[in-house]
């Protein structure tokens, strides 16, 4: 089960790539329109990249009236990434989206490294949203907290239906003259350098909760996807790899099928949690929003 990481694909400029996923996750929608951060917004690092986009988006009203109707026509489940600067802002957006048939799930972006955070805790934001929607709520967490499993337990108790792990980590790059490259100086680190961080976070959270987990962070190959499943993810999202290869979902799907087959496994579910010694807590069902047929990851 492959998704994109929020902010790493525009389904309207690359519909073929979006359709090659099992669900499309939107760029984060905030209450008001945001132009985003000043340039420079992108910098490559050794083994990764930094971004400082700053949640550029048209705001929830334009999103609802202009973007969402176009997304609904793509024929794939849509996950909407919801952002805000206070718990009430998240909750209001969730209430607005609650009635939309085409929306399969909401992902609460609780961890953008490029903007100020809401004053409330992740669990308080989840609780506020829970009262406003019956849609599946995924909490996207930062790997930077001292104990991400603690946060995971708290959002589970607050009513989250799943976890998205991980968001980027703060990073900084200097140019030759020792000045920060990015306009905001610090940005979010993604790409292969993030993979061990993602594996550790998914490993910890899958042991600590029974929530389904969308694992992401540095996935470039089918082997990387397999490793995220092995530490406990139920689905895998692609981020930075989409920037270099819009056809990555198809390739990674094939590579993962071959990896599973080599292990004698017939489905990705069988790989879930293999890296843990002993049994994991029983997983809740992961609902990708199967309003249209989901492409199978099973080996041919």
């Amino acid at each position: 089960m492959l998704l994109n990481a929020s902010g790493c694909l525009d389904a309207l400029t690359a519909p073929e790539t979006a359709r090659s996923l099992d669900a499309f996750v939107t760029k984060t929608v905030t209450p008001l329109p945001r132009g985003g951060n000043p340039p420079v917004r992108i910098a490559e690092t050794d083994g990764g990249m930094l971004n400082s986009i700053g949640l550029a988006n048209p705001g929830r009203d334009s999103f609802l009236h202009e973007v969402q109707p176009q997304l609904a026509q793509l024929g794939i489940p849509i996950w909407i990434s919801v952002g805000g600067f206070a718990a009430s802002e998240y909750a209001e957006t969730c209430a607005l989206l609650d009635g939309l048939d085409e929306v399969a799930a909401l992902e609460l972006n609780l961890s953008c490294p490029n903007v100020d955070e809401a004053p409330e805790s992740a669990a308080e934001i989840v609780a506020a949203c829970r009262t406003e929607t019956s849609l599946p709520l995924y909490a996207k967490l930062s790997p930077a907290s001292w104990d991400v499993a603690e946060v995971a337990r708290a959002v589970e108790a607050a009513g989250a239906d799943g976890l998205s792990l991980v968001n980027t980590l703060r990073g900084l790059k200097l140019d030759r003259e020792l000045r920060p490259v990015l306009g905001t100086r610090v940005g979010g680190l993604s790409g292969p350098a993030l993979k061990p961080v993602a594996l550790a976070a998914v490993f910890a959270c899958s042991a600590a909760t029974s929530l389904p987990i969308v694992g992401m962070g540095g996935v470039q190959t089918g082997r990387d996807a397999l490793e995220l499943l092995a530490v406990g993810a139920s689905a895998v999202a692609l981020g930075t790899v989409l920037f270099s290869d819009p056809s990555a979902p198809g390739r990674i799907r094939e590579e993962l099928a071959a990896e599973l087959s080599a292990l004698g496994l017939t489905s990705p579910e069988q790989a879930s949690g293999l890296a843990h010694e002993g049994a994991l807590p029983a997983r809740k069902h992961l609902d990708l929003g199967s309003r249209v047929p989901i492409k199978s990851l099973q080996t041919p």
Partner: protein, 221 residues
């Protein structure tokens, strides 16, 4: 938008730059000023390059080795293969009456292909040094070349349809001299196809992705 693995047919030094020739494969060359994302071996992100020359069966790019990605591209040899995505973005409009092509430094990259599309337009180009000016060998024989401290903007006359590519200070100067000019801008970008929002610039109060709405933007006259 199509992505293929293309084989290097030749890599030749042109002053400090490298002209990288690739077999075209199934990719279309697109129009002058459009660009491609070239896989930079060993790097996480591809690099945007505008098409320099489009001989039959071939795509050629002029690369300035200024960082690890462009150095990796300049180190490619005949027979190596890299993934290439494109053509991307919006190029130059060539329905102009009195064209003047203006290039600065590595910004001359799209001008050979553009000059070909326009017949034999007037073309002026400026370089930082005589060594850099060796790249003028790629330009049509009628090109007027200046080397710093002379600036290429000193050769711009009013009343012409300017199509320009070069460093941002040069483009700003061209914009002041020639309202209505078509300017090819550059910004760091991760994807080239609208996914990352890294190349967004604010124009007339609206944020536009240079990879989708540019890289060539026409100034309001």
């Amino acid at each position: 938008m199509r992505r293929e693995r293309l084989t290097v047919t030749e890599s030749e030094a042109v002053g400090p730059y490298t002209l990288l020739r690739l077999e075209r494969g199934g990719l279309q060359p697109g129009g002058p000023g459009q660009f491609f994302m070239l896989e930079a071996p060993g790097r996480v992100l591809p690099r945007p390059m505008s098409l320099c020359l489009a001989a039959p069966g071939e795509l050629a790019f002029l690369v300035d080795p200024i960082g690890p990605g462009t150095r990796a591209l300049c180190s490619l040899s005949r027979g190596d293969a890299i993934h290439v995505l494109g053509p991307l973005g919006n190029g130059f409009r060539i329905d102009v009456r009195r064209p003047l092509l203006v290039g600065g430094g590595i910004g001359i990259a799209p001008l050979p292909y553009l000059a070909e599309a326009l017949g034999a337009p007037r073309l002026v180009a400026g370089f930082r040094s005589g060594w850099h000016a060796e790249a003028a060998a790629l330009l049509p024989p009628n090109a007027e070349i200046v080397v710093e401290p002379t600036l290429v903007t000193e050769l711009i006359e009013p009343g012409l349809d300017v199509l320009a590519c070069g460093p941002a200070p040069m483009l700003e100067a061209v914009r002041r001299l020639s309202p209505g000019a078509q300017l090819a801008w550059e910004a760091p970008m991760a994807c080239g196809y609208g996914a990352c929002y890294g190349c967004a610039v604010e124009i007339d109060g609206r944020w536009k992705r240079l990879c989708i709405e540019g890289p060539v933007l026409r100034e309001a006259a």
